[in-house]
């Protein structure tokens, strides 16, 4: 590339055109979801396919609510409960353990930390079948305990909080707390936790999205009687795959909360992901 073409590329609309095309590809399926969710069934079968939204959303979503096979509202409520509980727990346990690994001295610290890092590399599906058996034995099948308790802690969460705590909290600050006679928990509560807040927020957002979106495990241990949102969506689409407008109305409603979370907190989420990438 010669000088002239470099300058052209740097300032030219070509770069923006490439990016705008990428953005269109990223966003179009969202728009398409809205188009189908607001169309009546016979309009979907048109050739060419519809490209603009219409006014049938109410009717389509009404069919979702009337559908006993999917229990959509139960699924929505269950997903809110499970995601909230898992998020709070992952953030708290991650902060506690991350603080301990970053700032406290104890026997076996490095070995235990290494265990956590190795854990992150192990594919989760390895334990799937025995875990299913355990859930049966515990009597948790088709209850929210089955999709909550195993996920209350996360190796990634501990590691992320530890990485952040190392640089965000100075040893002097903790020493000062000790000199003042504060207990370890007081130091955690009054000094460490406020300093960890930015990382805790990102971890919380990522955990919430992951829990909200998880499918394989809830599908394995829940039934359509008591589903999470994703399980409900999937059963709806398996049973009513010809009724696209109904399935898409449900899918759109299930996607909206995450899109809102992302529009409000997108900056932090992206910042957190990019920072995490450089550090690890």
């Amino acid at each position: 590339m010669n000088k002239a073409s470099q300058r052209l590329w740097r300032t030219s609309p070509l770069l923006y055109i490439a990016l705008v095309v990428a953005v269109l590809f990223s966003v179009y399926p969202f728009y398409y979801m809205v188009v189908i969710a607001t169309r009546s069934l016979d309009q979907i079968n048109d050739v060419p396919p519809p490209f603009t939204p219409a006014g049938e959303f109410g009717a389509n979503f009404g069919r979702v609510l009337d559908n006993d096979a999917a229990n959509f509202l139960t699924g929505l409520l269950n997903s809110v409960i499970v995601s909230a509980v898992v998020t709070v727990s992952v953030v708290i346990t991650g902060s506690l353990a991350g603080f301990a690994f970053a700032k406290l001295r104890f026997r076996g610290r490095n070995a235990l930390l290494l265990t956590i890092i190795v854990t992150m590399m192990i594919p989760t599906q390895l334990g799937l079948i025995p875990l299913w058996g355990m859930i049966q034995d515990l009597g948790w099948y088709d209850t929210l305990l089955a999709v909550t308790v195993p996920f209350l802690v996360s190796a990634f969460g501990v590691f992320m909080m530890r990485q952040y705590a190392i640089q965000a909290i100075s040893d002097e600050l903790i020493e000062a707390g000790r000199v003042d006679g504060a207990s370890t928990f007081r130091i955690f509560w009054n000094i460490v936790l406020p300093a960890l807040r930015p990382a805790a927020a990102v971890l919380g957002l990522l955990t919430f999205m992951e829990t909200w979106n998880s499918y394989l495990w809830p599908y394995a241990v829940l039934t359509p009687e008591n589903p999470t949102l994703q399980v409900s969506l999937a059963f709806l689409s398996y049973a009513y795959y010809t009724d696209y407008s109904q399935v898409f109305a449900a899918t759109a409603i299930g996607t909206v909360p995450l899109v809102i979370v992302f529009i409000v907190f997108g900056r932090q989420i992206i910042g957190g992901i990019m920072e995490g990438a450089v550090k690890s």
């Binding site: 399926p29 799937l128 499918y215």
Partner: protein, 322 residues
């Protein structure tokens, strides 16, 4: 054991006079606090992970040596499940499907992410946050929702993609009826959902490269193309290893996309055209509970494959840069 003493040097200022008894009790408490607190704080993770994460993994190994019914009896059969794997047509079919979809999704995705990250890394780019957010947005949607939407896009009779193809004179494709077409449809979901994520990770890696390297290269007369090959790519190696490893762990465990694409059919298409290893494991272990032992062997085979592919990736990426 005075490990903790180093973190808390005795206060230099004389403590206020307190009755000796209460003081010694306070000191004991303080000692206990210093010694036990760290373990207390890491305990929740290790207890819950131990029960619901680590133990099931070990049990998978134990189960794989048995003829095991998840809701019935089991008997020890040694390595029979593993020898059986070698002759199992469905297992190899699932392996080929998994790797086929994996290649169709990983390679385009990484090339595209590299391209987009390079574009987003331009110094004079406007609206950068907006571009980053828009490109990352697909990652926010659940896999189930993505599979539902793409299932419709790839629908045979009135799907958007067949309509576009018809404009250029290509006949309607029955996407879920053949291997290559179903793999393409499933891989496109993975590509759509993960390209933005990988773009951000690669972009972060690019931004961590010291700027003076480029300045020095520019002074030496290296053009942008050369700078990309000689500076950006080599300096990006650790990030690339990270991204490829993540894609491998995720890609070889692919489950939801093909399952929802095939309307919940665990065998993945009428003729197992797109049944992945994770689906086959699920079919053996959880759909048919009586073959859980064999399913556990498939789980370990998957684990070994993921470990091997990650290792090969790591070595390849490292060597190609050297």
């Amino acid at each position: 054991m005075s490990l903790s003493a180093t973190t808390a040097p005795p206060s230099p200022s004389a403590p206020p006079p307190t009755p000796p008894r209460r003081r010694s009790r306070a000191i004991t408490l303080n000692r206990l606090d210093l010694k036990l607190s760290p373990y207390l704080y890491i305990a929740p993770f290790f207890v819950i992970f131990g029960i619901f994460g680590f133990y099931p993994m070990l049990r998978t190994a134990w189960m794989s040596l048995h003829d095991w019914n998840l809701i019935g009896d089991h008997s020890f059969i040694g390595f029979d499940n593993y020898t059986r794997l070698f002759g199992d047509e469905y297992f190899w079919n699932a392996t080929i499907n998994t790797f086929g979809i994996f290649i169709l999704s990983t390679i385009p995705q990484l090339l595209l992410a590299l391209f987009l990250a390079t574009m987003l890394n331009r110094t004079f780019l406007r609206a950068r946050t907006l571009f980053r957010m828009a490109i990352f947005m697909p990652n926010v949607v659940s896999v189930a929702a993505v599979a539902i939407v793409f299932g419709m896009l790839f629908q045979r009779d009135f799907g958007l993609i067949n309509w576009v193809l018809s404009l250029v004179g290509i006949d309607a494709v029955d996407w879920d009826a053949q291997k290559w077409s179903s793999w393409t449809a499933i891989a496109s979901m993975v590509n759509w959902r993960w390209t933005g994520y990988n773009t951000l990770i690669l972009l972060a890696g690019m931004q961590a490269i010291p700027k003076d390297l480029y300045e020095a290269a520019a002074i030496d007369g290296a053009n942008q193309w050369k700078q990309f090959w000689r500076i950006t790519l080599p300096m990006l190696t650790p990030t690339f290893v990270f991204v490829v490893t993540l894609s491998t762990i995720g890609g070889l465990q692919l489950f939801t996309e093909p399952l929802v694409f095939g309307n919940g059919n665990i065998i993945g298409g009428d003729q197992r055209e797109f049944q992945t290893l994770a689906m086959y494991m699920y079919e053996l272990g959880i759909e048919n509970l009586s073959t859980a032992g064999y399913g556990a062997a498939v789980a370990w085979a998957m684990f070994v494959m993921i470990a091997l592919v990650s290792l090969v990736n790591f070595l390849l990426v490292r060597r190609s840069v050297k």
